[in-house]
């Protein structure tokens, strides 16, 4: 029973990161009208920025966190004109061409990480970020401070996001664009400016994810971005592309499934098993569990 509870906590905290990443990804899809497949790779880049700043400042947590969030916002917003340009060049909004831009960004970032930081070796985060000794431990299973934090912050962040989406002027504009971009333009919503706001907001969520992943995994490596990108894309497709509530449910579910596999079965197979489960779901419901919403 204790193992079960521990793994549920672990799974939910991992899942809350998938949720944040899937939400940022879906926001860009719905409002900026791009498929930013490599959004999680950008997040991992920010993880490296956090690490560099922590190293440079003698583990100043505040500066590290600020640097992570800011770098994520900047990277997102800076990439916006590139995406917009490609979309304009192809005439009407064309999500396929944006996917190529995103993949290109992903490859470049991954290569930079493997060449320019720590000789390409995995990086490790200091204890003042990750929380040191576990809260409790049963055999190989443990619950860490970072896990509890990431679950708590993830829950607050996702709730705040939904409040913003449903209770604010910007959120209303986001929803209008996601339902009907031409109609949103017609009522006077500035499409480009609102699109940039969605880049910034997904940047904020990405930056928070970067911190939470560091707290949870205690390390990062150049390949982490691609691994997360695959999972986030899978979560989003299994949930139904653009479906925010779907992404919430499926993201948490994936985290829990992975943690349970690690707790009760061969941990090293957790990715394979998780993807088999998703394969079955997508064969059963090709448009995702909750339906595509674009």
């Amino acid at each position: 029973m204790q193992v079960f509870i521990a793994q549920i906590i672990n799974g939910l905290s991992l899942g809350s990161i998938y949720v944040l990443l899937a939400t940022g990804f879906n926001l860009l899809l719905l409002v900026a009208l791009i498929i930013h497949f490599s959004y999680p790779v950008v997040v991992v880049f920010s993880m490296y920025i956090v690490w560099v700043v922590l190293n440079a400042t003698g583990n100043n947590l505040l500066l590290g966190i600020l640097a992570g969030v800011l770098s994520s916002i900047v990277l997102n917003v800076v990439s916006a004109p590139i995406f917009q340009k490609v979309m304009k060049k192809r005439g009407e909004v064309d999500v396929n061409s944006t996917m190529v831009v995103s993949m290109g960004m992903g490859f470049i970032i991954t290569d930079i990480l493997s060449h320019s930081f720590n000789h390409g070796f995995p990086i490790a985060y200091p204890e003042n970020l990750t929380g040191g000794a576990p809260l409790f431990r049963i055999g190989l299973i443990s619950v860490q401070v970072g896990q509890v934090w990431s679950l708590a912050i993830g829950a607050v962040a996702v709730s705040a996001f939904f409040v913003l989406l449903y209770k604010t002027r910007a959120g209303r504009a986001f929803r209008a664009i996601s339902e009907d971009p031409a109609g949103a333009k017609l009522v006077g919503i500035p499409i480009v400016r609102t699109g940039i706001q969605s880049y910034a907001l997904s940047g904020i969520m990405g930056g928070m994810s970067a911190i939470l992943i560091a707290m949870l995994l205690h390390s990062a490596s150049p390949g982490l971005g691609d691994m997360l990108a695959h999972k986030v894309l899978a979560v989003s497709i299994v949930a139904g592309l653009g479906n925010l509530v779907g992404g919430l449910v499926v993201g948490l579910a994936l985290g829990v499934i992975e943690a349970l596999i690690q707790g009760y079965a061969a941990g090293s197979w957790s990715n394979a098993i998780a993807f088999v489960v998703m394969l079955i779901v997508i064969l059963w419901k090709p448009k995702g569990l909750f339906g595509i919403k674009v």
């Binding site: 929803r175 209008a176 006077g188």
Partner: protein, 247 residues
Amino acid sequence: MAQNETKTASPSGVPLLKVENLSVSYGHINALKGVSIEVFPGEIVVLIGANGAGKTTLLSSILGITPSKAGTITFDGQRIEKKPVDKNVRKGVCLVPEGRGVFASMSVMDNLLLGAHHNLQNKDKNLERVFGWFPILNQRKNQVAKTLSGGERQMLSIARGLMSAPKLILVDEPSIGLAPIVVNDIFTILQMLNKEGYTILLSEQNAYKALKAAHRGYVLETGTVTLTGTAQQLLSDPGVKAAYLGA
């Protein structure tokens, strides 16, 4: 229904909207070929034209959605033909689009607040006015728009436009797809709004009812204005009768 004695506005003074020699093409299709129209403050002006005549193109160029190739659009003393839609909405133009264009999965209230995107500081006052004119929308304010009937959606679309505090309301074929009795309601509402001081440029294939409600009209044929006059003149014009009034 439309009563002639209510038509007091006459084309005098400075036009609120002046379109001069406007040309618009979609690729090699010339949808508008040098169209000129004027709308004066306080008027209801109707664009009469068959399917494909260019009515939607003209209204969407005025708002700034469809770029023009040549010609000028002057609204409230300023040239707007190169301005983006959101600027024009802020200046006081709004479009009630063909097919209503409400956000079906969003609530009635959200739809109204989207209309007030640039005018949220006055939203309470405007909501009160709009709900006074459209009490049904007040009753349905928390329902999603797709649950509304066609007529209610048309009202929502008009009400959403009003939330932006417009000086000029462009209304594109409001009668399309509505039962005749509902069409009468919509024209009554447009006349009521006109009496409240709103200036309206309307497009219609339903020429009889539209001309009954309007002060003046333009007949648009394949991208060209072929006839213009007061609503009375157009109603009694033999060509208009034959082509648009089924006489």
